[in-house]
């Protein structure tokens, strides 16, 4: 529902007025893809350009290259208790750099810390006007845990809510070959390799969705009437007699295939019979069962209503039923189909005979 989202320009103004810092997240699909490297490399570049950068948190083990960068930048020593370490938030606030590097976002803080989670410390820094660069793996996102459990039979102990990742001003995917060996020796079993690829696909799509959201916001903020065909969005038009089950099943399959979204609509018309109404009610249930985003449209011109909805939701494929019996009435339906095809210029129209 684009209209429910806050106006990004207003948010930006608010952020500037509040003096909040910016959050940038480096997202990896597995440990070892190089998130920390990218994080500290950006920190180093900013430092060299004269920005005031400090290190707020590092992973326990750092390789020699990263240790050098951390030394160069200067670190605020972390708090330590009971084998856990935390960002020394008060010390960072006192030092008040422009940018703070916080590796390993998902860690839990020591039991006696003010805030139980590292990401909550990061939120405190941002509130205080300090920008934060941070890193996380897909498997450490709370909402991904059912997926992670399916893959590995266990959940991650320390996680960050998706909403915090979504609140980031920028998300960068840190991708790497699953198997950097040129000999093609994938470490471990096929099962592990497949699980790793599944994680990687998920991370890429999660980032793509975030980019799409930001793009939508950006375009709306700049008042651009845009229609992006980047993600496939399928709209199933349900009529009482259409073979909605087939259309919805195909729509679901294709939406999954394309990593796209599925919508279903019908246009409320005054002259529907009781029989039509119960058919439509059945169709709505079918659509919900296929996890389609169902809407009921109003309007005396059903085609205009459908096309307006399609435009608002950046739909790329339209599924319509078509009655094959050539009665007087279906001749009229036929011409409706003609009109729909003619007007839906920017869309693929897929016709399902019934």
């Amino acid at each position: 529902m684009p209209d429910l989202r806050p106006d990004p320009e207003a948010l930006l103004r608010q952020a500037e007025a509040d003096g909040r810092g910016r959050l940038k997240v480096f997202l990896g699909y597995a440990p070892g893809v190089g998130k920390s490297f990218r994080l500290f490399d950006e920190g180093r570049r900013r430092h060299e350009r004269g920005e005031d950068v400090v290190v707020g948190a590092v992973a326990l083990e750092l390789n020699a290259d990263l240790q050098r960068v951390v030394q160069q930048l200067g670190a605020v020593p972390m708090l330590e208790a009971g084998g856990r370490r935390a960002v020394a938030v008060d010390a960072v606030l006192a030092r008040h750099p422009a940018v703070c590097l916080v590796d390993d976002l998902a860690r839990d803080n020591p039991a006696q810390a003010t805030r139980p989670k590292r990401y909550q410390d990061v939120a405190a820094l941002i509130d205080a006007g300090i920008s934060v660069l941070t890193s996380i793996n897909l498997e450490e996102i709370d909402e991904q845990q059912p997926f992670i459990e399916q893959l590995f039979g266990r959940r991650s102990a320390e996680t960050v809510p998706q909403s915090f990742i979504d609140s980031a001003d920028e998300i960068v995917v840190v991708d790497a070959p699953e198997d950097p060996s040129p000999l093609g020796e994938i470490a471990g079993s096929d099962a592990q390799a497949i699980a790793l690829a599944a994680l990687r696909e998920r991370a890429l799509l999660l980032a793509a969705d975030a980019v799409q959201r930001q793009l939508d916001d950006y375009l709306r903020a700049n008042r651009v009437d845009a229609s992006w065909g980047t993600q496939e969005r399928i709209l199933v038009c349900m009529t009482p007699r259409a073979n909605a089950a087939a259309m919805l099943a195909s729509g679901r399959r294709n939406a999954d295939r394309f990593h796209g979204e599925l919508f279903a609509v019908y246009v409320n018309q005054p002259n529907l019979t009781a029989e039509d109404r119960s058919a439509l009610a059945r169709n709505v249930m079918l659509a919900r069962a296929q996890h389609a985003d169902v809407s009921i449209l109003d309007g005396h011109d059903p085609i205009a209503a459908i096309l307006e909805f399609a435009r608002q939701r950046n739909v790329t494929q339209l599924y319509v039923g078509h009655n094959l019996r050539r009665t007087w009435q279906t001749r009229v339906t036929g011409s409706l189909l003609d009109r729909l095809i003619r007007l839906a210029k920017g869309l693929d129209v897929r016709v399902f005979p019934h």
């Binding site: 995917v173 790497a176 696909e201």
Partner: protein, 388 residues
């Protein structure tokens, strides 16, 4: 199994110049070298940033070949010299590059195929806008037409596609740093705006394209595992719907109805794209009235030939059918081909063709109730600024 294997192809995929593709590729090359693997640089753009240049310095470079053309000298990758040197891994920048006329092969990706055939692993770079079937989508979302493209089947052969990501803000900062401020700031802001939204759209596409490559490879792998009957060993991950290998429904087969006009190129690209996502077979046909196609003016015949050649370049099988009734001929062939979907172009606005065309779509739909007919979008640029 033969002990001679084709080389592995790794593509570093980005969405614009300056995101760091070459840097990441050379970082991996250095890493491999440090692990004792024989790596050479086959080609790399000499106008790179200092940091990138520094990475290439420790790697052996194969001298480029000089080719004279129209009184000037051009430098191209020397594939033959790389073959003679026969390293384990060759680094080849700019996969979509077109070689200067007079080179052994017209495209760099053809040079790379030669290296792969000889068993040499190749690391290369390209941007998402150079994937052939994405041409229309890119045009639609950015207004940019790309000339140098790589056919999808070549990209699909990659053993690894690695996304090289950078936020558009960071990229624009990178580009602007050191660049003198334009005198007209408003002009600059406008440019910035269009560039940022364009870059965002391309970036999203690069992410989705990489995700598709990852999934396709997993599916091939799962099928391989299936074939050697080791399904049980995948037990731990067997429940994952995300890597569900094969659809439970019968495989899709797409049939494209090509015409002599330019709109067919978009139809062909769209067909290729959908076929790739669905893992479907895809064929393209033209229905001629007579075997000699004498009903078509010569210019149309040439245009048709271009469309069919284009389809074949995207690895779509083509066929010219002969029949006086286009719909009937098409649908009869679709039955033989066991098509599940038929793709047709949207007719041009107005004119006789449209009148005929409307009847044509209706007829195809009624003759093929067992298939789905898709009228493909006219993917022009639909973006416009409402106000500024």
């Amino acid at each position: 199994m033969s002990d001679f294997a084709r080389g592995r192809l790794t593509i570093f995929l980005g969405y614009a110049a300056g995101v760091g593709k070459t840097f990441q590729m050379l970082t991996l090359a250095r890493d491999l070298q440090q692990r004792g693997i024989d790596v050479v640089v086959g080609y790399f753009e000499p106008h790179a940033r200092p940091e990138t240049m520094a990475l290439a310095e420790g790697l052996e470079a194969i001298p480029r070949k000089t080719i004279p053309y129209r009184g000037r000298l051009f430098e191209e990758m020397d594939a033959e010299a790389i073959l003679a040197r026969h390293p384990t891994v060759a680094v080849v920048d700019e996969f979509p590059h077109t070689n200067v006329p007079g080179s052994a092969r017209s495209k760099r990706w053809e040079d790379v195929s030669v290296l792969l055939d000889a068993g040499i692993d190749v690391l290369t770079t390209m941007n998402v806008q150079h994937v052939e079937s994405l041409n229309d989508e890119i045009w639609q979302s950015t207004g940019v037409r790309v000339r140098e493209t790589v056919p999808d089947w070549i990209v699909k052969q990659a053993d690894e596609v690695v996304l090289v990501d950078l936020t558009p803000q960071a990229l624009l900062n990178r580009l602007e740093r050191g660049v003198v401020y334009a005198p007209d700031r408003a002009q600059k802001a406008l440019q910035h705006f269009f560039r940022e939204s364009t870059l965002g759209a391309l970036r999203e596409l690069a992410m989705r394209q990489t995700a598709l490559a990852v999934r396709s490879r997993v599916e091939n792998q799962v099928q391989r595992v299936d074939r050697v009957d080791r399904v049980d060993q995948v037990g731990q991950v067997g429940q994952v719907d995300q890597v569900e290998p094969v659809e439970r429904v019968a495989p899709e087969r797409l049939l494209l109805l090509v015409a002599a006009d330019a709109s067919s190129a978009a139809l062909i690209r769209r067909g290729r794209r959908v076929a790739d996502y669905l893992h479907a077979e895809c064929a393209a046909v033209y229905v001629a009235k007579t075997p000699e196609m004498s009903e078509l003016p010569r210019a149309d015949r040439q245009s048709l030939e271009r469309q069919l050649t284009f389809a074949r370049r995207l690895r779509i099988e083509t066929r010219v059918l002969v029949g006086s009734d286009v719909a009937l001929t098409l649908v009869s062939f679709a039955r033989v081909y066991q098509a599940t979907q038929i793709f047709v172009s949207r007719e041009e606005r107005g004119g006789l063709r449209m009148m005929l065309g409307r009847g044509l779509i209706q007829r195809i739909v009624s003759l093929a109730p067992d298939m789905q007919v898709t009228i493909v979008a006219n993917r022009g640029v639909r973006r416009r600024a409402v106000s500024s």
